[in-house]
Amino acid sequence: MSNQVTSLASGHEGTLRDQFSQYIQRLKGGEMGSLPAIGATIVLAVIFGFSSPFFFTKLNFTNMFVQAAELTMLSSALVFVILLAEIDLSAGVTAGVSMAVFIVLIKSFAWAWVPALLAAFLTGLLIGWVIGFIVAKVGVPSFVVTLAFFLGFQGMQLVLLGEGGVYRIEVPEILAIMNNNLSAWGGWLMIAVCAVVMLALGYWDRGRRARSGLVNRPIAILYIKVAALLLIGGFAVWFMNLDRSQGVIPIMGVPIVVPFTIAILFIGSFVLDRTKFGRHLYAVGGNPEAARRAGIKVARIRIYAFMICAFLAVISGVFHSSRIGNVDGSAGHTIVLSGVAAAVVGGVSLFGGRGKLAHAAIGALVITMIDNGLGLLQMSAGVNFLVEGGVLLFAATLDALARKRSGGPLAR
């Protein structure tokens, strides 16, 4: 390294080739992110594509996105607490209870759906606050607190809905999320907006760096990313815009839940990557003592994380109710473990401090593909659970090994 003033690099230097070799270096260093999960989606697509003629049909392709949306939301919710090396086993039932509040307010108290939905979200936030308070202020391990809520809220659901109570949802706006589709141009507009936002953020960052007199990465990298988005997204939109109906009435277009999910993932990622709160969340997850000494209010960050988790879990609950068209007393009992599995499979570290929402989304896609593919092959539910369990164990092992490799202690 030379003696000139700018002798310290920032990782932004060099040509496209240098950047690529830096990326390879990071991979070798154990920072694989969601790459194993992306690999898994490709492998799974090939396996299921060959073994089932239905897997790549237009209907199934679109269905998978709809199925994955619910899980994506829940695993994204869990990312906020897993980043703190905590866990929320009650995320699913929190959603169940909040949706029970929603439907009871509509059916028994004749509330309009908008205030009822607001009440459901407030219920979620309140539950998140209580869990966060007990974990952060009282000091009970989150595993135990949320296990207690997991059991307790199953009872709460039964109390609110009555034994065996099933309530149909008759709110068209809620049902539309999972069951209706955008028009063809709506889908194209969605992809265009994504590309514009990506470009704008890229230029915004480059502008800031340039004004500070810092080196920027080759602009080609930004263009390649946007081009990849347009290519993959464009193909998906085109495919979903084809008529996938097996009957007389045509079904076409991107399901409404897709832009919803993308928007929520974008906002969540923005908060994690670009705000002080996000930075502090990663810091607390990495080393709570260091965060405390840096003046970060650790307890407050923990409580907020559990509140965000509960809030996003309620959105997942809304998606679920929208898909099946009703609210029942058993909603959200099993999804939470798939949510944890999705986050870990996607590359979110259970040791805290490492992971992104995009990882959770890719992990959710893997879990959904396994679920969907094995279903199409008419495997029994037993096989399904066995495979999912195996994948989770494999992913968690990768996580532990990667952590070992990057030099961190195995457990804190």
Partner: protein
């Protein structure tokens, strides 16, 4: 020395229940100089430092900061004055990069979002002011840094905060020979930039290599404040072990 001390303690007392840990300490630290704080385990080094950093305030005594009497009751006040402590365990987040660690808790914002480029620029400047060349990239994760590099980042963080007094708690304790050398050079440059540095150390060869003044604590008393140029290894050891003070049966304060 005609210069105003950065820190001047007079008659500082601290006890935990019946145990008197600090029994009337007088202590001066000067800007631009490295002052070693040595003493055997239990001599009261940590307690003295915790009082200065606001973690455990003193029971009694006067603390002057550049001639003005100040009260330090919590870490925030110490930090506001410009007193920064680099703890032995460094307090870095391994999952964050160098820039993120250096600005942790003091992030620069622009329109409500993190001003990454400004932080990167300032962090780079702080590292350059210490002539740091050992780190590859300021965007490296701390988990990929060696012990010496981590120490460097922790010290550079205090430069970034424009600290006037930097307290280093055994900065070379866990380091190999080459890295110790690097960190000691760094400590020297930090003092040369006008900062008053207090360095706790058990390693006298490090102390003689880099420190201008040596303050020796023995069982809660400041038994000596010596100039490095006017003392010897043997003399310092005799103060640390208490032999010297038993000979004279009185507390001697030299130098300063």
């Amino acid at each position: 020395m005609s210069q105003l001390p950065a820190i001047e303690l007079t008659g500082v007392v601290k006890s935990f229940g019946p145990v008197d840990v600090l029994k009337g300490i007088d202590f001066q630290v000067y800007p631009g100089r490295v002052t070693a704080l040595v003493g055997d385990n239990g001599a009261g080094k940590s307690t003295l430092i915790k009082g200065l950093s606001g973690v455990q305030p003193y029971d009694n005594g006067v603390v002057k900061f550049f001639g003005e009497t100040v009260d330090i009751h919590n870490p925030r006040q110490a930090s506001a004055l410009g007193i920064e402590v680099v703890y032995q365990d460094l307090a870095l987040c391994e999952n964050l990069d160098i820039v993120q660690n250096m600005f942790l808790g003091h992030e620069e914002l622009l329109t409500g979002t993190l001003h990454e480029s400004e932080m990167e620029l300032q962090a780079t400047k702080a590292l350059q002011s210490l002539s740091v060349r050992t780190v590859k990239s300021v965007r490296q994760k701390v988990s990929s840094l060696s012990g010496g590099q981590r120490q460097t980042v922790a010290i550079a963080r205090s430069v970034l905060r424009e600290a006037k007094v930097v307290i280093l708690d055994e900065p070379t304790a866990a380091l190999g020979v080459a890295q110790t050398e690097q960190v000691l050079n760094l400590v020297r440059r930090l003092a040369d930039s006008g900062v008053a540095v207090i360095m706790i150390s058990h390693n006298l060869s490090d102390v003689f290599k880099v420190c201008d003044d040596i303050a020796v604590l023995y069982l809660g008393r400041m038994v000596a404040q010596l100039k490095t140029s006017e003392t010897t290894n043997t003399e310092v050891i005799s103060y640390i072990t208490g032999l010297h003070s038993q000979d004279t049966s009185a507390i001697t304060v030299e130098g300063a």
